[in-house]
Subunit: 610 residues, 2 copies
């Protein structure tokens, strides 16, 4: 096992300082006294240094220690706890959401920071992300008492948090959970009974208490998602005097996973002794049985979905830069242009360059759409203008499933190419790419499988606000084309491809609309995931082409001898590669959708016996 | 860790009894007294039973035991040795190549058998495949003395074999190996000095001796592949009286791999004490320094390449059938067609069916092209007509890189879908799909990386015999279209797609020809792997459509109530799915090739720093 951290922060600097209009964000009152564009380089350099020096050395330790589950106790590597404390205490984690604090960072800046830290130890950092998500729910929906009771210790790394949705018999269909909540004398406190599964960081000695944000159904509430409520169920109950006592939360298993070995994934049983209590967030179910839990949980869920896209991106990016390092050193073969010459480092072979370029371009597209998402989050949370808040929220609604699923789908193939670039060494755990493959697979599954994301995109986001929300999302691309097409002769073909892609995409939508109107519902599931991929490619192409215009301008200003020229040239080439080798899949997808092959829908399930 | 074996032999029965003209093969004198079509069902059932009862129970044991390397000794699970002995002694393995034996099986039949056995314990079975490859080299190129010395014990499971090509500094460019051979008083015996790496089954206590087929350069021979000779270097030297003595072959490391944990992969040092001897196969280098080793090794290499495609196919197929089993049991959600109804097994969801169908169709395409390859091997080895021998050899030349690389490239994505179908359980080692992903990655790398295969296809096989060999290969598809197009109205669109695919493929060839003629050599590497994939899709589409015609006929004969109807309907739907959802990538690839994007070729390697 060998987790080697290799990362560049140059693309973050470009995104924050040159691409996104960060001044807008920094101008909001919450940030204006604390941040300016000029500080960004220093901040990003400091974080990269921390990732290298503090975080990365813990990765192998966590992977090798794994998770021990003995006599009901879950033990993680001691550095897991130290790192959790370090990140939280030093303000790189959960405390950034503290509404009462001064000097908190914009989400879009934190996104850059978290990508670097996460990349340095992917198994560990989810503990921070989940604590942030849990704390945000308490902050948004808890009363002052709950906030006072839980938040300070969740901000400073004393306690951690989880999200408890999945049960053994209910995963994607969370509405079918069996966990129950029974009222007590205190209307805010319920007795909880149930069991949960696949709870990331669900137990472990890295925090003194684990605060579970727990979905359960109050007696008498509606069936399905409509009747689910959200509870704060701490592992140890917090008494009024701050002392802790057992809360009948028992870990029944720790999963033996393919990757992320340092991270505890727990199965939990709540209330087997009838002694588990939880605080209800918000109101009890109303007289129709409707409860608030799912809507509340979605605040956390969307955040975790965007975070998942980032995690997939950073694991693949670290594998990509490791492949690059290997290919710079490894000598093999001769150049096709000079077959009689000496042996060459393999990075000069065009098939190797192609693998690196596919990674670079795709990962930059993922990073761009993720940052765009977080940029809109800052607008949503801070802009005084309700219209701009709505605009930002609309974009987030559309971007969330794409930003979760596109990176986590692509990462599998990208890491495969990074392994391939290592030759036989890629299959050996001495190099980090094998671990990257083992680690990265979960991201297409957790926080809603990528089919759930595709269903959300095609089923819900396409039609949200009678289709206006999605129309506005596409209009950003139309506006870009109208404003910029023809402005850069070197990117003429790339603009043409983006234009063809958006036209094709609209035809995909129209074709699917026709199928649905005609009752051909099977096509919804048959095409949803492929359409999500095409959506990611369309939006990724738009982002990269937008970036390429800036890059081209800088190239012309700086000239080829400037030390930074190759960064901009690389951005320009990423866009070219992506628009001409990846984006054409949008119209290939249209062709498949229009074809309307019914082989899947027609298939009796018995054929899969063979 | 949980290796669950789940396999069907129905497709093999179809391939051997209904698709390929197996009568031709069985009519060859070597087989005519021993085999008939009527025996095939019993044989295939017997092997599947053996795979279930004998082989599969060893898989977890091997995976969990792993490989121990202590005080220079390599230990594998005791069942590894028992299984090696069992397969070899019972005639399912190496002895089938024995030219002197009666009743050996056609290669194409053995292919079916090996796919099942291999699937049941992928880590173990390479020991058999490599022994077969090594024994075949001795049989083909050794004198009677060597045959007598080595073959009987390699046939009966006493000794095993390896292929020793790769060195720490020479993998893909085998011409740069450093291993040396020095003459001794006996002209057939050389002193060997060198070290090898990534030697599969290179050491271990599963065999009493390990016979390395070893590439080294005789003093004074040419540089590059031209000057390489092939030696038989046993771990223990075999004295005239049959006793064994140390041959200065030392294992220096055992690789810690991502998958195939039960299989020893060794680094070896030969002759550190100047005491390692090897038997030269064939003649010493001629006066121009030209040696015979590479040409000899390619006999084994081609066989291992075809075998690698089979291994990738069987690992992915086992994952597919496990996914099917899981999806039949797992209850989640409701049908879109009946959203208010009860919960359903997820195999009824069309997104799940799509994942299974993609697996089924692609794996059947892989299996078809692999069997075609072995069918041609039988013709090559047995047909009395030199013209038919040449025809068969030509097809094998073209099919080998495709049959190695296409399945091993696709397997990664297919296994990913089988994981995805398992939801969160797919990331847990309790289900076998996580292990399938870990195991399957090597197949795109070993026996020549898939880029090496693509280079072989586009650089060598396209132009072999002034292009006639490849033209003949394509003509098989033309002939099929000419004979069968219009014969089945239900497959009209599928025929049209195959016709469009072959036209597109020819345009890919013409476009690449133009680039090469114009000196745009970069495009060779930039497009080679994508072209290989398109070649696999074209040929896979041809095979499946050919099969679908038979299946449709059987459907019509049997009627929907027949117990076997769904098998044939499944074959028909596989072809539909593949021709309409996979084969269109051939013309998508043409579009990319014609575009001629130069971003990869233009890229200075410095851009990958970011």
């Amino acid at each position: 096992m060998s987790s080697i951290f290799s990362y560049s922060n140059r693309d973050f600097k470009f995104i924050l300082k040159e691409w996104l209009p960060i001044e807008e964000i920094f101008a909001y009152p919450k940030f204006s006294d604390y941040y300016s564009k000029d500080d960004l380089d220093m901040l990003l350099d400091q974080v990269l240094k921390m990732a290298v020096e503090v975080v990365a050395p813990t990765a192998d330790v966590c992977e090798e220690f794994g998770v021990k589950f003995e006599e009901g106790k879950v033990t993680v590597a001691p550095v897991f706890r130290e790192l959790f404390k370090y990140i939280q205490e030093n303000g790189w984690g959960t405390s950034n959401i503290d509404e009462t604090a001064e000097g908190i960072m914009p989400e879009v800046v934190l996104m850059s920071i978290m990508e670097m830290i996460q990349a340095a130890n992917p198994a560990q950092l989810s503990s921070v992300g989940l604590t942030t998500g849990a704390a945000r729910l308490i902050q948004n929906f808890g009363d002052q008492k709950l906030k006072d009771m839980f938040l300070p210790k969740m901000f400073d790394g004393t306690w951690s948090g989880t999200m408890c949705l999945t049960e053994a018999t209910a995963g994607s269909d969370v509405g079918d959970i069996l966990s129950k909540a029974y009222p007590t004398d205190d209307p805010r406190i319920y007795k909880i009974k149930g069991s949960k599964q696949f709870i990331t960081c669900g137990d472990g000695d890295f925090a003194d208490n684990i605060i579970h944000l727990y979905l359960a159904r109050c007696e008498g509430a509606s069936s399905g998602t409509r009747g689910i409520s959200l509870f704060v169920v701490p592992k140890y109950w917090v008494n009024e005097d701050g002392t802790l006592e057992d809360n009948d939360v028992v870990t029944t298993a720790i999963e033996h996973k393919m990757g992320l070995h340092g991270q505890p994934t727990a199965a939990l049983a709540m209330g087997d002794e009838n002694n588990c209590r939880g605080w209800l967030l918000g109101d009890p179910p109303d007289e129709t049985g409707k409860a608030q839990g799912m809507a509340q949980m979605f605040v956390m869920m969307n955040e975790e979905r965007q975070g998942t896209g980032m995690m997939a991106t950073c694991v693949a990016a670290n594998a990509y830069w490791n492949a690059k390092n290997y290919c710079k050193e490894r000598v093999q073969g001769r150049l096709m242009s000079n077959p009689k010459g000496g042996r060459t480092e393999i990075i000069y072979h065009d098939d190797v360059k192609r693998m690196l370029m596919l990674n670079k371009a795709t990962l930059e597209a993922c990073r761009a759409m993720l940052h765009k998402c977080y940029y809109y989050l800052d607008i949503k949370h801070n802009d005084p203008d309700p219209a701009r808040q709505k605009m930002a929220n609309d974009r987030i609604e559309v971007l969330t499933p794409i930003a979760k699923a596109y990176p986590s789908d692509e990462a599998w193939g990208l890491v495969s190419e990074s392994i391939q670039a290592h030759g036989g060494y890629g299959f050996c755990e001495d190099y980090p790419v094998a671990q990257a493959a083992r680690d990265v697979k979960i991201y297409s599954i957790w926080e809603g499988t990528n089919f759930i994301q595709a269903q959300d995109l095609v089923g819900r986001k396409w039609t949200m606000g009678k289709g206006q929300v999605f129309a506005d999302f596409l209009k950003d691309i139309d506006d870009f084309l109208a404003a910029k097409k023809g402005s850069c002769p070197e990117l003429e073909k790339e603009f043409a491809n983006l234009e063809k892609a958006i036209a094709s995409y609209r035809e995909i939508m129209a074709t699917m609309g026709g199928y649905m109107a005609g009752g051909q519902m099977s096509f919804f599931q048959v095409y949803a995931r492929r359409i999500l991929t095409a959506t990611g490619q369309l939006y990724g192409g738009y982002c990269l082409l937008d970036q390429a215009l800036i890059a081209k301008k800088r190239m012309d200003e700086l000239g080829a001898d400037h030390y930074d020229y190759n960064f901009y040239y690389g951005k320009f080439l990423s866009a070219k590669y992506y628009l001409r080798n990846v984006v054409p899949n949008v119209w290939a997808t249209l062709e498949l959708v229009k074809d309307g092959d019914t082989s899947v829908g027609d298939a009796p399930v018995e054929i899969f016996e063979y």
